[in-house]
Subunit: 323 residues, 2 copies
């Protein structure tokens, strides 16, 4: 090797990014990764022992980047997170301390949109339920099963028309769905815009949640919105669990106040409300909408590219803000 390993730039890794399971060797050839999970020290002690001089952090969407964590890392200058969402980070405090932040940008947008559409087809057309029916050997025994709902013609409201929401809209248009959206502000698109999510729900058969989790969107989808969506209504969530009031969603599903749901994210992951596990009209997944071989390769390139750019004093590739 041209450079001895000890001269590689040092990066502290928090939250154990799963991209390291696939591209760990490539990362390690470029950076000296400080991995608390490989140490016998408790996390706080690991940080205080190793990380006084650490300038770069690599973390995931489940790493709580709090003021107290930032105080433990006084030399920190950049945080690169594997997530698109930033709700796990105190961005104001990062900005105040002059710490640059880079995220996954739009690396996952297409994959997440694909998964959202997959969940919607699954709920409307009962694909997982059919698979379960056949795999349990029930087909030769029962001839009758409930009719499914057509995808085309469904009025789909997209909550948050960012890069994911736009990809969802593009796909569902090809199925003949009728798209409208809610967003903080009107976008330069032809789809009807509703500033109020309750009004969007009133006009739609399906809501696809694609917005970021912020103070403003926390529990944005509550019982009133779900009741406005109505008994034929379907909710798809591939954004963040806490955008929906999960307790009220569970109530509405159990009581038949809405028709079904496809949920990749939950308020208290990996815990999923018990009541949902037995519902045939609910399709659940383990926060994997972003998880493909292709997006992980792209993620590896973007994450290592951001870290390399930082150490070379070049502009970050996917800055949230870059000091």
């Amino acid at each position: 090797m041209a450079e001895p390993k000890k001269e590689l730039p040092v990066v502290i890794v928090l939250g154990r990014p799963s991209v390291l399971n696939f591209y760990g060797d490539q990362f390690s050839s470029k950076f000296r990764l400080l991995k608390p999970w490989e140490s016998s020290l408790p996390l706080d002690q690991f940080i205080s022992t190793h990380a006084q001089s650490v300038q770069a952090m690599f973390c995931t969407g489940t790493t709580c980047v709090t003021p107290s964590l930032l105080r433990q890392l006084p030399s920190l200058r950049v945080i690169v997170t594997t997530s698109a969402g930033l709700n796990h980070m105190d961005l104001d405090e990062c900005r105040r301390l002059g710490i640059s932040v880079a995220n996954a940008g739009t690396v996952f947008s297409e994959d997440v949109a694909d998964f959202a559409v997959g969940l919607l087809i699954d709920v409307l057309r009962k694909v997982s339920a059919a698979n379960r029916f056949v795999k349990n050997g029930l087909w030769p025994l029962h001839g009758d099963y409930p009719l499914a709902s057509k995808v085309g013609g469904r009025k789909v409201g997209i909550v948050g028309l960012g890069s994911i929401g736009l990809e969802v809209a593009k796909r569902l248009e090809a199925f003949g769905c009728i798209i409208s959206y809610q967003s903080r502000k009107k976008k330069p698109v032809v789809y009807p815009f509703y500033p109020d999510v309750h009004e969007l729900a009133t006009k739609c058969d399906v809501l696809v949640i694609c917005c970021a989790l912020t103070d403003q969107t926390h529990h944005l989808i509550n019982k009133e919105v779900l009741l406005a969506l109505g008994k034929e209504g379907i909710i798809i969530n591939i954004a963040r669990g806490a955008i929906i009031n999960e307790m009220e969603l569970v109530q509405c599903l159990v009581q038949g106040e809405i028709a079904g749901a496809g949920l990749d994210v939950f308020e208290n992951e990996p815990n999923v409300p018990e009541e949902l596990l037995s519902l045939d009209n609910v399709v659940l997944s383990q926060h994997v909408a972003f998880l493909t071989e292709d997006s992980f390769r792209d993620l590896y390139e973007l994450m290592s590219g951001n870290l390399e750019a930082f150490f070379l004093k070049k502009p970050l590739l996917s800055p949230v803000f870059d000091d």
Copy 2:
């Protein structure tokens, strides 16, 4: 009622169409339906007792319309089938006997295409597998799961570019898939055309089977085609089971010669090869790709419209041929 029921035109119903479960009253208000399954007589005797004068038959895609059945119904002049496929009928014999035939036309094309895309997303993105994982309570116990494959960029070969195939292509283009097709003859479309299915398989990651079952397409997809598709290859079948050599498909799936399958149809329905039931990379459904509330309403209107047209001596609405 304006007309007494006995004067309604008589229709013999074979194969117990499931559209009668939903629109039975509407059919019965227009036609006197002869239903063998409500009789204590054996089928042959029911036909010979009631049906010497019957001019119209209403049947399903599982009703074998053979020369011997047609001989039992000497007055038959029209057959209306709830299926789009016609492989269950001896069309030459119908034509020879001057019996007109109407089918479901393109009523199901959009729904079947939606389901095909749903199966493909499910297999690539492991939706049903994820649903099973979460519903079995495994998420809190296991953090790692295999990466899925991106939908976009996949080279998808459509076998049979009729109305269903075209709808599949339109949808998958919106996901960024690269479409090509095999068909009896070249169509006026921009997608690359391969007259030979083996060559199509060589060029593609995914085959979506959308053709009719005929003598020419029986076992069209055999081991050679599957091996040409390769270890990353995926098969989706929403057409007819016997277009694939099912035994060879099962072998290829079990031995990992292809990567996965989404199958709505089988050679010996409702029986599904035992080996497929436990495979995580195979998504199965019970021949329901066409089955939605919307398509059943359309089907009711088309089927009753064809029968009405026949009795009024008007042209059939969806003739296969109309004498």
